[in-house]
């Protein structure tokens, strides 16, 4: 282990980390929004959108993310649809994560007992009031733990994007290894960085969960 070497590599690695965080943050926020929309379609009464969403979720969950990334980055351009490396990465990661978030939100919605609808009707709440004021808070509490798991996975899976040449954390490390052969130093460093980020994300998840459950906490 050569600490000086690691310190010398840190500025490059931090640039990589910045890219990792940017791609993951975009993919995470997009997938959460699209996941909620997808879950709404999935639970809606219309058969066609429901089937389409089910098919999408099953297909994405049944195929490797790596192949999805290559399909989007190398496959789509031969059909005339071209994105930059960055946006290919964001799109691939979002497409993947959305499938999982749809399932998470759907499970959350399923945890809302059917009698609650009657209670809302009895209180004279309108449909949107029922959705926003009643269903959302209940479903969010149930959906939060698995959704946060997917958020963490999305962050970790951004490492897959090094295969298409996105200059993120893993790419920087592998690139330096190709020149300096300091594999041990580089991998130790990025492992520590990834672990740190995952711990922070998991801690944030716990915090939000704790806060949401505060009304029900025992005093």
């Amino acid at each position: 282990m050569d600490l000086d070497y690691i310190l010398g590599a840190l500025p490059d690695l931090m640039k990589g980390l910045k890219m990792t965080l940017m791609v993951s943050a975009l993919a995470i926020s997009l997938s959460l929004v699209l996941g909620a929309l997808g879950a709404a379609l999935r639970t809606s009464g219309h058969a066609l959108p429901r089937r389409l969403v089910i098919g999408y979720v099953e297909f994405i969950r049944g195929t490797p993310l790596l192949v999805q990334i290559f399909f989007i980055f190398f496959g789509l351009p031969s059909l005339g649809i071209r994105f930059s490396v960055f946006w290919s990465g964001v799109i691939a990661l979002t497409v993947w994560a959305t499938a999982f978030q749809i399932e998470n939100v759907r499970a959350g919605l399923a945890s809302v007992a059917p009698g609650i609808r009657d209670a809302s009707v009895a209180l004279g709440l309108k449909r949107w009031q029922h959705a926003i004021l009643v269903v959302l808070p209940i479903a969010a509490r149930a959906a939060l733990p698995p959704a946060m798991n997917t958020v963490v996975s999305t962050f970790k899976n951004s490492a897959y994007l090094q295969t298409i040449g996105l200059v993120e954390l893993t790419f920087v490390a592998v690139d330096r290894i190709a020149y300096d052969f300091r594999a041990v130093e580089m991998f130790a460093t990025i492992c520590v960085i990834y672990l740190f980020c995952v711990f922070v994300l998991a801690g944030l998840a716990k915090l939000v969960e704790h806060r949401l459950n505060r009304p029900f906490a025992e005093r």
Partner: protein
């Protein structure tokens, strides 16, 4: 048709993918059982170490683990070819996830069952195999099947370090045809690969559902003719 032209090449790759997936499933199961066993020992030191190892394996991106095994192991004097290096790293990752599944399954068996087994004089292995595990299986199998499909999908990571499996075969076909014929068939090849993986994972989940039915068959008895469970009829005199 490009895919038919290279069908032997693709088939060889697919055979390698299947082989790697089998090795991964076996390796991950082995690791999972060992981790779970280590976690249930009384020694604080052992459980602490294994627990941290499992957490690290789960929290570090799999891509990094695969590359790490490929680049760092040779430095420690362990030279593995791409196949076995990715088999090792992905198995360990699968084992870390599997250990949690097994532990959750075992924990789901009510305490009374342990006491009942003790009362029957069943100890150690016999207690585990005859009483606890059969009841834990319905809880273990569904997440375990999805772990196996994850392992199949993760086998595509081998292509990054040069395992000649089906995804790598696809990449090679694209490189060759793009060079020799102009125009990239990437959407066709990768689209085809997506379908192949999807069908494979779908088949695995079908088999998984069958296994699940096997262990829950006592709960879903539809035979209305015999309302009394089998075995009981001999005990209760007519």
């Amino acid at each position: 048709m490009l895919l038919l032209e290279f069908r032997n090449f693709l088939l060889a790759g697919f055979a390698n993918t299947l082989l790697l997936a089998l090795v991964l499933t076996a390796g991950a199961t082995l690791c999972a059982v060992m981790f779970a066993a280590a976690l249930s020992t009384r020694s604080r030191v052992v459980t602490g170490c294994v627990y941290s190892l499992i957490e690290c394996l789960r929290d570090i991106p799999l891509m990094v683990t695969v590359l790490l095994a490929y680049f760092v192991l040779p430095k420690a004097g362990i030279s593995l070819n791409p196949f076995w290096s990715s088999a090792l790293s992905i198995s360990l990752w699968g084992g870390a996830n599997g250990a949690h599944i097994i532990r959750a399954g075992l924990a789901s068996v009510p305490k009374g069952q342990h006491e009942a087994a003790d009362a029957f004089g069943l100890r150690g292995w016999r207690k585990l195999m005859l009483v606890i595990l059969p009841q834990a299986m319905p809880v273990i199998i569904p997440p375990y099947v999805s772990l196996v499909t994850s392992l199949v999908q993760a086998s595509s990571l081998g292509a990054v370090v040069g395992v000649e499996e089906v995804f790598r075969a696809g990449q090679v076909i694209i490189e060759q045809t793009t060079l020799t014929r102009g125009g990239s068939p990437a959407y066709l090849v990768y689209g085809f690969l997506l379908v192949i993986y999807f069908v494979l994972c779908w088949l695995i989940s079908l088999v998984g559902r069958r296994c699940e039915q096997h262990f829950t068959r006592h709960l879903t008895r539809t035979d209305a003719a015999s309302p009394v469970p089998r075995g009981m009829t001999q005990v209760v005199p007519a």
